[in-house]
Amino acid sequence: MRRLLIGLHALVLVLMARPASAQLQVVTSTTDLYDIATAVGGPLIRAVHISEGYQDPHFVEAKPSFILRLRDADVFAFVGLDLEIGWMPLLLQGARNRKLQPGQPGYLDVSSVVQVLDAARGPVDRSQGDVHPMGNPHYWLNPENGRRIARLFAGTFGALDPQHAAAYQDGAARFQARLAEQERSWTPLLAAIRGQPVVAWHTSWRYLADYTGLDIVGFLEPKPGVPPSPAHLAGLIATMKRTGAKLIIMEPFYDRKTADFVATRTGATVLVLPPSVGGIKAATDYFQLLRYNLEQLAAALR
């Protein structure tokens, strides 16, 4: 009996053991937030992300291994606007981490500081597809929102780790300075893109279009999250012919057969663009993601 009690005691101690760490533990829902967080926090934080850049961030599986990541986190930064609604509640509930409960500083809804497009102004229901009533969640593709995210991270990390608050502010300033420098170099690319008509698969590119002046004349999805029907495609083909749209842009995680079909009927080109960091190998960080997308668009539209 005594051995049993000693064994049980040892088991409890092993189960309760948790390595201490001085770094701020940050978990982000996407690779984009991860990249900006690491740019701001540098070696002061230890960041991991849940979804990959080449994965549809809405359909991430709520794996228990993610629960372990969240259990030990000081901050969980997520895109919000219901992008992660399919898996985030299960993970947060499973993680039992008080720091990540709504209202706590570690529960970081990044959408709270960005300029949101497509927020519903009237009644919303599911007949409109898988709509996001609070707005389009793909906002990181506008660099202005990238800046705001960096500043939000600097403020949050600094509040949780006041000793290094100045370093986080410096990290955010460096990020913004580099972004401004990048933007200056994009001027010829933006000139080639502005006003050009294109078709997109999903509403992911609304923010990039807003930034570049790209004219999205139609979507392959008739409604968000709803696969295209033949009737919708026929209408879309007519729209493309009428507007002269010769480019279809889509994410790497959609099946391109439908896009290829429309392209053959309209003489258009299909361009697969990464919506997030890591979506393709060239999109190694936030700056490369934006640059790659702009270069590809400009090359296709010239």
């Binding site: 994965q55 372990l68 399919g86 898996w87 509930q93 039992r96 008080r98 959609y254």
Partner: protein, 416 residues
């Protein structure tokens, strides 16, 4: 005094003027100024957004998430309906759900079930703690017991029409529920995810509606239901993962006797459960919208108390069903064919307590089924399926079923 006042005004003006003097601006100053300007812009936007909230917005935000799930079934079996009440077309259940944070310490969930055959019932109603230390969590109320893999899944969320036969016979047609308290803790002492769940409930299972015993099974603490489950989870790679878990439970439950005296027709007997389940999932990250595979297997064993504790008046009575142990298992696989279409199949085998064989032995039940699931969206599901059920020594039954489920309300998390 007047001199002092004039001097003060002059000093103030001078300081103010000095503050307004143009000074050389560095890049850092510009950056800081821009940050401040942007921060102010954000504040203004947030203020505007707050001001734009309609009257009563705060009260609306405090309302719980309200959802409803409809589960419609058509039994098109060739010989006759295989439903309990013989219906061909039925609303099997409508489940109304309410969920919200109760306060900073608890989250509350209530599921009310409505069906033609059973009327209204509290399916589940529980509080879950949100603020306990050491990765602990408590659940209090009525809930699906964490015993085995599929039992914790709502019936309408299953990939099949019904629970596997082993679960139906050993745990209950609508799953094993209990009212009590559950404690769980997650840990990774060996480098992989583990969760230990222990629960105490009023009773481990539902006794028959017309069974009368001399005292409730939970009259003594030893008669309560106790269950535990240990989950073990591994990521094999980014696309593939495996879960191997074990469950056990024990408690007392009323057993029907072969005779009745003074209105008593049952006695409480100990029933213990043991189970093991394995789930393999494959979903490639990039093609995950179109391709996935799920393989699931469970083995359950029920151990029944042999010697019944009988009242004096019923000293020579016996259990109506043989007090023996039973084993059952199933294997389920599901392959994603298209973005919205899935093909699944299940094989069941069990020693069926409902199949009495000669000499008090028990017959086995074998069943095989195929399903095609189609999801028009994340909020509706159409299923068509065929099942062939072969009881030992009995006539094979062919079943043809179709099901429609739909969900109203907020987007729910995808089951994992």
């Amino acid at each position: 005094m007047r001199v002092l006042a004039v001097a003060g005004i002059l000093c103030g003006w001078a300081l103010g003027a000095a503050a307004q003097q143009p000074v050389p601006r560095t890049a850092a100053d510009s950056s800081r100024a821009r940050q401040i300007a942007d921060s102010l812009a954000i504040v203004r936007e947030l203020e505007a957004a707050t001001a734009a909230q309609p009257a009563g917005g705060t009260a609306q935000r405090l309302l719980p998430d309200l959802s409803a799930v409809g589960d419609l079934l058509a039994d098109l079996s060739p010989d006759r309906s295989t439903q309990e009440d013989g219906d061909r077309l039925l609303v099997r259940e409508v489940e109304l759900g309410l969920q919200a944070a109760v306060d900073p310490y608890f989250r509350g969930v209530v599921y009310l079930g409505f069906s033609d055959s059973e009327g209204a019932a509290i399916e589940q109603a529980f509080l879950t703690t949100t603020s306990l230390p050491w990765s602990l969590q408590l659940r209090l109320g009525r809930y699906l017991l964490p015993f085995g893999k599929q039992n914790a899944t709502h019936r309408h969320d299953l990939h099949t029409f019904e629970y596997p036969y082993a679960l139906q016979r050993f745990l209950g047609e609508e799953g094993l529920k209990g009212t009590g308290i559950e404690a769980s803790r997650i840990a990774a002492p060996f480098g992989f995810f583990q969760e230990l769940i222990v629960t105490v409930v009023n009773q481990l299972g539902e006794p028959g509606p017309d069974l009368v015993t001399s005292a409730p099974a939970s009259d003594r603490l030893g008669g309560l239901g106790y269950a535990a489950r240990l989950r073990n989870y591994w990521d094999l790679d980014a696309a593939t993962n495996i879960e191997l878990s074990v469950s056990a439970g024990t408690g007392k439950l009323a057993v029907r006797l072969d005779r009745s005296v003074g209105g008593l027709n049952a006695t409480n007997a100990r029933r213990s459960l043991a189970g093991m389940d394995l789930t393999l999932r494959w979903r490639p990250l990039q093609q995950g919208l179109y391709r996935s595979f799920l393989l699931q297997a469970e083995v359950l064993r029920v151990l029944n108390e042999r010697r019944l504790d009988l009242p004096a008046d019923l000293a020579d009575a016996q259990s109506e069903l043989p007090q023996r142990d039973y084993t059952g298992a199933y294997l389920f696989a599901r392959w994603q064919l298209t973005r919205r279409g899935f093909l699944g199949g299940r094989v069941d085998w069990l020693q069926d307590p409902e199949l009495l064989a000669p000499a008090g032995s028990v017959g086995t039940l074998r069943a095989g089924s195929l399903y095609y699931e189609f999801f028009p969206s994340e909020f509706s599901k159409l299923v068509a399926g065929f099942e062939r059920r072969v009881p030992d020594g009995g006539t094979a039954v062919n079943r043809v079923l179709a099901q429609v489920t739909f969900a109203l309300g907020p987007h729910r998390p995808h089951p994992f």
